[in-house]
Amino acid sequence: MLRPGGILSALVLSAVLGTVGAQAQDNGPIKVGFLTVKSGALAAGGRQMEEGLKLCVDQHDGKMAGRKIDVITADTAGQPAVTKTKTQELVERDNVDVLIGPLAAFEALAIDDYIRKVKVPIISPSAAAEDLTQRKPNPWFVRAVGTSAQAHHPLGEYAAKDLGYKKIAIIADDFAFGHEIASGFQRVFKDNGGEIVQKLWPPLNTADYGSYITQIDPDVDAVFAAFAGGNGIKFLGQYRNYGMTKPVLGSMTTVDEGILKNMGDEALGVISAGWYSAGIDTPTNQAFVKAVRKAYGSDPGYYTVGAYMACQFLNNALEQVHGDVSDKQAFMKALRNVNIDKSPYGPVKIDDYGQPIMDIEIRKVEKKDGRLQNTVIKTYPAVSQFWTYDPKKFLAGPVYSRDYDGGGEKK
């Protein structure tokens, strides 16, 4: 026979437990797994990502939609196998609610299947591989940066229409990122009547570009150089060293703010395209640039702003679901529905494939206040990853690759 007191205390106990449980659900911290690179060759980009993320979390006082943000950082060393292990740790041991990362496209591809299996929302702050949001879209993936070609479609048009270039030689890193950038540029440049006379593909770890630079056709109007990491520094230095005077068009990463700060006069005059420039003259961006300069002593570039925006995406989605991430489908839908009016990028919306539609800036390296910066000289508003092409036709067309031979269909 049960004593009344016993029943009462059991009731009280369950009530207390119930409240505690409910509180953990509503007001406990949201766990963010952050995949970055702290060691190895990609560490500089990893550090900038960390800085961008930290700045954003700090600006929100560590809270979004009323819930504390708990960032758990993992170092992938830029190696896909390690990335996979670390992701599993974050998901299975730390039970993170959402992932931000990783840095490199091959890392993102390495965990793609796993993410589909465990169904954890992931926001990419950097990896630009086209097919992640095109031919193989992952329903749990949303990107906070452009695709490889997104900024370089407009650059192709700008080179042909505004600069009036007819013949261009392309030199690009020989890996997927370089192939995709070069193909996007080529397609639109040719569509506008331009001609690509030459494509040079130096390996990623080329020590000496001398034998490539001296191959460049002297009759071209300009050279389009698409390099990642430190290769932009190496190439531009050697290019000027060889006395080359043909104008250089660059990919976003060739003269990214992250390396521009270490460049010299060899970078002056390079015209490039990007979804961001520290020189974007809006109050929102100038406040952001000021904050980054104050905290880290340099201008924000690709990685800093990418991670910062990934974090803003998270904030925007959390506000849509009022901080409730227990319904993963609803949370993911909110992430795919991110809509931000004012950001360092400018206005941002997400398309049906999880890819931002955003303004693309044409930028020119100039020296201001004793430092190099990418001055915005033209803005293409609300550019999609598919440029002006129909998405269905775009996806049915040939993949952007080393052997891509498209462009010039609509002269």
Binding site: A43, R47, N205, G210, S211, K234, N241, G243, N262
Partner: protein, 286 residues
């Protein structure tokens, strides 16, 4: 015609750079039979130290000296504290040098952050030389001159000096040299310091062309290995010829058969080793 001349000059310049990189490695391996896998890291460290020297207002030539000396001291310490205890255990030595390479690489990341940096070239060597219709950077020609001078100086040291004679004796037959009263235990740190200094100074010298960046060590070490293996292990003359051959193959190869850019450095090595396992100028080790 222009194509062959200009790519030939490119190859000559790159080969010279490779010789400066590989000379120290070859020297150390020749005498001590230690494959110093930290050589690439020494090269990078030298470049970073040189960069800091320039940042602190010193000129390029002083930077080369400081880069060389710093790495020289580090190499001496490494030989005295670690490698000496592992004498006669080549596998252990190789693993230790590899471990040290990782430590140096992480240390550089920590001290200089991971940002790639250009190393400014001295103003007197900026610009290009024009002859006929050809244009070629002054600095690269300077690198060629340095490589030739370095080869000459090392030749004089090894072939014409007393220390050189002792080193050669040690290379040819270590035990016999000891019996003859040559104190190889003193020669070892000397040669190791010299080889390291060459790596360090070479890193600074290469900086204006390669720039300085975190994976510079792992990019350059395989090149040193290719040069030394192709030329013949322990032979400086072999390293010189090997470096130039590689330089030309690299330069013409990348221009003529760009699709082979990845293997072009290693193909000649494989071929030579198949036909002549000791390399072009190598001798069978005693």
């Amino acid at each position: 015609m222009n194509f062959w001349v200009i790519q030939g000059l490119n190859g000559l310049a790159f080969g010279s750079l490779l010789f400066i990189l590989a000379a120290g490695f070859s020297l150390i391996f020749g005498l001590m039979r230690v494959a110093n896998l930290a050589h690439g890291a020494f090269f990078m460290l030298g470049a970073y130290v040189g960069l800091s020297a320039i940042d602190n207002g010193m000129n390029f030539w002083v930077a080369i000296l400081i880069g060389g000396l710093t790495v020289c001291v580090l190499g001496g310490v490494m030989e005295g504290l670690i490698l000496r205890r592992l004498a006669g255990q080549p596998l252990a030595q190789v693993l230790v040098t590899l471990g040290i390479a990782f430590i140096i690489a992480d240390g550089c990341l920590w001290l200089w952050s991971g940002d790639p940096r250009p190393l400014p070239m001295p103003s007197e060597l900026q610009g290009v030389l024009r002859f006929g219709g050809l244009i070629f950077p002054k600095y690269r020609l300077f690198v060629v001159v340095v490589a030739v001078c370095l080869a000459g100086a090392l030749w004089l040291l090894l072939e014409r000096s007393r220390v050189g004679a002792m080193i050669r004796a040690g290379v040819d037959d270590m035990e016999m040299a000891r019996v003859m009263g040559i104190r190889t235990s003193l020669l070892f740190p000397l040669v190791f310091c010299l080889g390291s200094a060459l790596a360090g100074a070479g890193g600074v010298l290469a900086g204006p062309i390669l720039s300085v960046y975190p994976s510079m060590d792992t990019d350059m070490l395989p090149m040193a290995l290719v040069v030394v293996i192709l030329g013949g292990v322990g032979s400086l003359g072999g390293a010189f010829v090997g470096a130039l051959v590689i330089g030309f193959i690299y330069s013409y190869g990348q221009a003529l058969v760009p699709d082979l850019a990845y293997v072009i450095l290693f193909l000649p090595m494989v071929l030579v080793l198949t036909i002549r396992p000791t390399g072009l100028f190598g001798r069978r080790l005693v």
